[in-house]
Every structure is written in structure tokens, then in C-alpha cells.
């Protein structure tokens, strides 16, 4: 056995392998720094912590949704229903609170339950009947959006005093900075997701599933349970994201969050998670969401550029990262 040789090359090998796994993450972080630097050099008033915090305030709900999506994509699946689920949550909350006088303390758990239950149901269908996640969550997407319209085709504004009070609350930070409670919630969810993914048996099974599903099964891991759970997590995160959006917009509307599934997927991919599953970090997703937010910020600071450039830039980034994934993570066949 070539003990000496392997111990000689080991440090190098170890560096390069870890490097390869984290490369996309580093690219994203570099991109973020570069964008912030360019913004700061170009535009007056850009270089401030509050600008960054505002990115979080405006995208807290997206972060929560993207975290749920990260779980699903890590297993090698996809969840197209998140945008509709967000809309359904805003609608359900507004309808319960505004039109039925339900207290928030009742509406919130109910909405979360609907989200988690819907997700679990989709996960169950995907696992039990071996139907592609793409098509099952597509049905979920139609269903949730359709249910919104069944509640109302109009936007329902929230005027409930408790709700508006919570919506206007600001958490003050030292140095005159502030964030919204939604940011706190999003960051707590992020921390929780990190712990779950990296330090629990469930989280490691999620990675194993994305690495090789049939191996995971032969290794005796609870494949079915984990799959159902992952979609339930995504549903739960969408519902929570929907609640945050309700507070942000102070309304429920069936046309809220149209296309948010695309933003969430883009954030996850730009955050360095492989779409084939098994590799990625939830912290990368947070970076991905920040990149998306910064693009919007720069475009609004720019003033002359219109909002659709956001989509184009996101699409461009998606393209670059998908190419990077093929070049550096392309050991597994795509078909």
C-alpha cells in the first residue's frame, strides 16, 4: 500500500476537494462583494449598512421561501408550487383575519399547517407513485393559485390594528440602523435550517438522498419519510414566507408572488447548490437571495435602468452558474 504517497498528497488533495465543493459559494461571495463595491463607488449613499439591511427587509420572505427550496433541491427534487403557496397564504391570512375576524394567533398556525400539509401531500404523491416532482408540484402550483381565486379574485387589504402594528414595528439596532421583525424571523429560520441540515440525522439524510437515492435506500436510511418531510418543509417555509409577505404588503392577493418560484430557484442555484442535488449550503442560498436583492437595489439606484433588467441579470447569472455547475460538478450524468 502506498501509504507514504497518499500521506504526501493528502493536504493538497484535501484542499482541492474542499475547494471544489465550496467554489460556487466563494464565487457568489466574491460577486456579492464586487457588486457592493461597485455600487458604493458609483452611487452616493450606497455605501451604508442600512442599504444591505434594506435588501433583507425587502427580501426576507424570499429568503424563507428559498430556504425551503434548498431542502428540496438538495434531495434532487424541485418545488414549483412555492410562489402559489405564498399567494395562498397571504390570501388565507387576509381572509381569516379581515373577513372572518379570526385572531392572528389562530390564523397564523392554521396557515402554517395548510402549507406544511400541502407540501407533505405532494411529497407523498411524489414518493409513492414515483411521479416526477416537477409535474406534481406543477399541479400544486395550479391548485394553490386556483384556491386563491376561489377565496376572492380581488385583493383583500388588511386593516386589522394588531396586524398593522406588527407590520410597522421596527427592530432598532445600534448605530441608527433598523430591520423589520420579518428579517429577524428569516434569520432565525436560516439558523434553524443550517442546524437541521448540518447537524441532524434528517439533514444528513437529505444530503444522502441527493447524493444517491438508491444507495441511501440500501444503506437503510428512511428515504420515503425524508422525501415527504422535505416537501413539507418547503410548504411550511412557503406558508411562513407568505405570512411575512402579508405583513410586508398588508394585503392578501391571488397575484402576489407570481414567479417567486423562479426567484427562489435562482437564489438557490446562485447560492451554489447543485440542481442535481447532494451538494450545497443553505448559507449560500442566503448569499443568493442577497445577490438578487442587490441587483434590484443597484438598478433602483441607477435610476435610468428599468426593473426588467433585474430578470435579465438574474437569468444571465443563472446561465453562468449552470455552466459552472456543469464544468466543476459535472461528474454525474445529467440524463
Amino acid at each position: 500500500m502506498n501509504t507514504t504517497l497518499s500521506s504526501l498528497t493528502r493536504p493538497l488533495q484535501r484542499f482541492s476537494v474542499r475547494h471544489a465543493v465550496r467554489l460556487p459559494l466563494m464565487v457568489t461571495a466574491t460577486l456579492l462583494v464586487a457588486m457592493f463595491s461597485i455600487g458604493s463607488l458609483q452611487y452616493e449613499g450606497f455605501f451604508s449598512a442600512q442599504v444591505l439591511l434594506n435588501v433583507l427587509i425587502d427580501n426576507g420572505f424570499l429568503l424563507v421561501v428559498a430556504i425551503g427550496m434548498t431542502f428540496v433541491i438538495l434531495t434532487g427534487g424541485i418545488d414549483l408550487s412555492v410562489g402559489s403557496m405564498v399567494a395562498l397564504s397571504t390570501m388565507l391570512t387576509a381572509w381569516l383575519v379581515e373577513q372572518n375576524g379570526a385572531p392572528l394567533a389562530l390564523a397564523v398556525p392554521l396557515v402554517l399547517l395548510v402549507g406544511a400539509g400541502g407540501g407533505a401531500l405532494m411529497g407523498w404523491v411524489i414518493h409513492t407513485f414515483e411521479i416526477q416532482p416537477f409535474i406534481v408540484t406543477l399541479a400544486g402550483m395550479f391548485l394553490a393559485r386556483g384556491l386563491c381565486y376561489m377565496i376572492s379574485t380581488e385583493s383583500i387589504s388588511l386593516t386589522d390594528p394588531t396586524t398593522t402594528r406588527i407590520a410597522q414595528t421596527r427592530v432598532l439596532l445600534p448605530g441608527g440602523l433598523f430591520i423589520s421583525p420579518a428579517v429577524v424571523i428569516a434569520l432565525v429560520v436560516l439558523a434553524l435550517a443550517f442546524v437541521v441540515l448540518h447537524h441532524t440525522r434528517f439533514g444528513r439524510t437529505v444530503y444522502a438522498l441527493g447524493g444517491n437515492e438508491s444507495s441511501a435506500r440500501l444503506m437503510g436510511l428512511p428515504v420515503g419519510r425524508t422525501k415527504v418531510a422535505v416537501y413539507a418543509v418547503s410548504g411550511l417555509c412557503s406558508a411562513l414566507g407568505g405570512l411575512l409577505l402579508t405583513f410586508y404588503m398588508l394585503s392578501g392577493y391571488a397575484l402576489h408572488a407570481v414567479g417567486m418560484e423562479l426567484d427562489a430557484i435562482a437564489a438557490v442555484v446562485i447560492g451554489g447548490t447543485l440542481l442535481t442535488g447532494g451538494s450545497g449550503f443553505v448559507l449560500g442560498t442566503a448569499l443568493g437571495v442577497t445577490v438578487l436583492g442587490l441587483i434590484q437595489t443597484i438598478i433602483s439606484f441607477q435610476g435610468t435602468l428599468s426593473s426588467w433588467w433585474t430578470r435579465i441579470v438574474i437569468g444571465g447569472l443563472l446561465f453562468v452558474f449552470i455552466l459552472l455547475q456543469r464544468l466543476f460538478g459535472g461528474s454525474r450524468p445529467a440524463h
Binding site: T3, R14, R18, R204, S214, S215
Partner: protein, 520 residues
Amino acid sequence: MAAPPTPRTPTGADRPVLEAHGIRKAFPGVLALDGVDLSLFPGEVHALMGENGAGKSTLIKVLTGVHPPDAGTVSVDGSLQWFAEPLEAQHAGISTVYQEVNLCPNLSVAENILIGREPRRLGLVHWSALHERAERLITELELDLDVRLPLSAHSLAVQQLVAIVRAVDVKAKVLILDEPTSSLDRDEVVQLFALVRRLRDRGVAILFVTHFIDQVFDLCDRVTVLRNGRLEGAYRVDELTSVTLVHRMVGSELRTLDELAERSHTGTAATPESADTPFLSARGLARSGAVQPYDLDIHRGEVIGLAGLLGSGRTEAARLLFGADHADAGELRIDGERAVLRSPRAAIAHKIAFCSENRKEEGLAGELTVRENIVLALQAARGWTRPLSRTRQDEIAARWIEVLDIRPAAPEAQVRNLSGGNQQKVLLARWLLTDPEMLILDEPTRGIDIGAKTEIQKLVTRLAAEGTAVLFISAELEEVLRLSHRVGVLRDHRLVATLPNDPTLTPDRILGTIATGATS
């Protein structure tokens, strides 16, 4: 049926840790196992051998709870066990390592060893304890790996070792290794064997499934041989020679086959070899992990048989000649001209045809009709813009259905609904239609009935007489001898000999070559 000999175990343990008795297992249309016994003693390496279809993998699946047996008993440590799923077998101390590494390449070595039973603290994975435990297991087995690296950073061989470490850590009393060496090179096999011996010395019973004769003699204490789903016998390895072992696997009936006199070489002592330049000539052609460098000449009108046990590299050698896999080394000449076959398309352009052994996955488009499958290769060569008219297609299909007697004679039937023999004929028709100069047939008669088999053999003889070069791969020596002008013998991914099929060439001689590698 041979009764198992009274086991004299090498370790002297008197009671088997795993005992299977009278196992019977039928699948629709196939009786895969019929009254098979197996006993494994602590501290022995026990080989399980048999040709393709002998029932090895079914037996393993029964032992590990993948399939329930139809009859028979499995007992562990003397008590009867009934495993409903693989996890239960694992809990009873039976672990399996498969040919393909069944681990997760994206997780670290330590996690791959311990996932599902990670040490935890307050409900969270206790990473330092996990790494420590993995580290300890690795060093205990005298391996040298960084357990924190992702599994994908290691070679296939090391991954296989990790799979064994995982299997052993489940407190395995019995370790089943299902062809663990089939894709490893020589040094890697040495590494693996060292680990297996260490486990044996600690009292683990190891069931070792392999196709490599040498490995049985290198490593194993006893061997159980299966044939046609029945127990052929269980033997101490030191009481066998490689030749007797091969005979036991392949079946002793072959030795009595004397009607071989009718075979083709009697009339064609002067093979086309002496004539002109060979149609195809390979020099040092090789692909790492698949087949060692080999030389082979095939002339027009010549049938070359490839003999060798399953997994000996027959298919791999043939795939290089068709561009299905890319050769790493060596050169290929077609009609004396240097040729590089980058894809099957290139080979087809040289009028080479290849009927894969794996009809379902590599041969037929199951949803398409018999007619479409027949014309597919010809159509692919013409490109989509020059379609064969429907009338032409119907004519072609009707003609080949008649010529090869494909049943049912329904050109519009979906090909997946045909029986194995008829599917094989559809494949043959597809390639014959392209009028190939060389035809590679990989196990064309496997799993098909006698009638169809004879027809296919006749067809091969006729094609050769008409000037086609044929490479004929079969596990049946009788068939190879009946049809071939020369026989290439493969052993452990190496073409060890190319023997002219003269009257001195007998199944025994080929078996001897397969068993020992010497041409004697």
C-alpha cells in the same frame, strides 16, 4: 444433487453462523433457486460461484431479505430467521457490499461509514465523536484514509473498502461481498483482500461472490457452486484444482459431448486466415478497468468465438471494436487502414454491426413496433431526410419476419411484447439488413428456446460462408466450438489465447485455459 460435504471449518468453529436450507425461489417463468443449501462458519471466506443464471444473486437476495424464499429456511446462530426487508437482515448481523459502490459520493468517508447511526448529543450529530469513531474503525482495519474527505475524492477501490467498513461496523457476523473486485485493478484487489483477511481473522464469516477463479484460490477457504438454480456442491478449496472448479461450474455434461465431430472445422481446416489481409485487426487495444491490451484478427468469412466466464471481459473487448466504448490504447485497422472508432456511428460506417447482450436496455426501443425496430439501423444510417418508404419498410419487415421466423408475424406489434428469442431475431434482422461486413454477436442465444437457438447458429454459419466476418460471444462452449474457426479465450479481463479450432480443441482444453490461463 450433490450433498454438501461435512464441513471441516478452518477455524474449528463447530456451528455455522448462517445456515440456509432447501431454499426455493421462483419468479414468473423462472425457477431461480431449487433446494439450495449453504452454510457459513465464523472466520471463513466462502466463495459462491456459478455461471450466469446459476442463481447466485437470487440466493444473496434471499439471504439479505430482498426476496422472501418460496420454501426453505434461513437461520442465524442456530435460530430461524425471517427477513422482510434488508434492514432486518442487517440488524441480524448480515451485511452486504454490492458490485457498484452503494454509498453517497457527496458525503464524507466518516459519514458514509456511520450515517443512520451517527453518535448524537442532545439530538444533534456529534461530529467530533463521529470522526473519532470512523477514524478508529479505519485504523483498526489498518487502512489509511482521511475520513473527513468526501467519498468522491477517493478511487473506486477505496470507496469499496469504505463500503466494507460500513458493512462491518453494523456488528456484522456475516459479510456478503457481491463481486466487489469486478472493476478494480490488480493492486486494488490486493488491498481489498488484505482487508477481507483481517476481517476473517476477527471471526467474521464472509461470503465472497466472484467470477475470478484465481481469487477463489487466493482468498477462500471453501466454495459453494451453484448451477441452474441447484446446488452443485460445497467443497474445500484446497481439495480442488482450478480445472475441476470450472468443470463444476460449467457442468460435467460437456465433457461427454462427442457429437462435436459435426462442427464446422472438420471441413474448413484451412481457415480464411491465411488468405488476405484481415477485415479487422486490433493491436494492443485496451481500456482500463475493462479489458487488458489484446491482439485480434478477424477475416472475412471467419467466425471467431470468444469464450470465457461471465465478467471475464468478453463484452468489453467487443465494445471496443464497435466504438461503443472508447479504447485508451492500441490501434485498430479495418481492411488494413488505420481506423479510430469514436462512436458506434463510425463503426457502422465501416459496416460493423453489434447485437448487444442486453437486449432490453441496449438493443431495442421497446415502445416501437417490430417493423420500426428492424429498420432502425438502416434508417439511422440514411439519416432522417431519406426515409424508407412505408411500403419498403413493410416489405423489409415482412421479409425478415419470414426469414428469421419471428413470431408472432406481426410487424406492428410492440417489440417489448415479444419473447426473448423473437426479440433477439428482431435485433439480428436489424443488423443483417444493413449488410454488415462484420457482425458482433454478444450472447445471441442466451435465454431463448432451443428452436430459435439452432436457427441462429445456422444463420451464423451461413453468413460466414457468404463472407461475413463474425465475432461470436457465448458462454456455451459447445456452441462456440460448433461455430468458430478460431476461439479466443478471455480470463480476468485478458485475452489469454487464440486457439485454432482443430480436432484437438475440446471443451476440456478451453476450460483448462479459462481455469489456468495456460494454453496446454
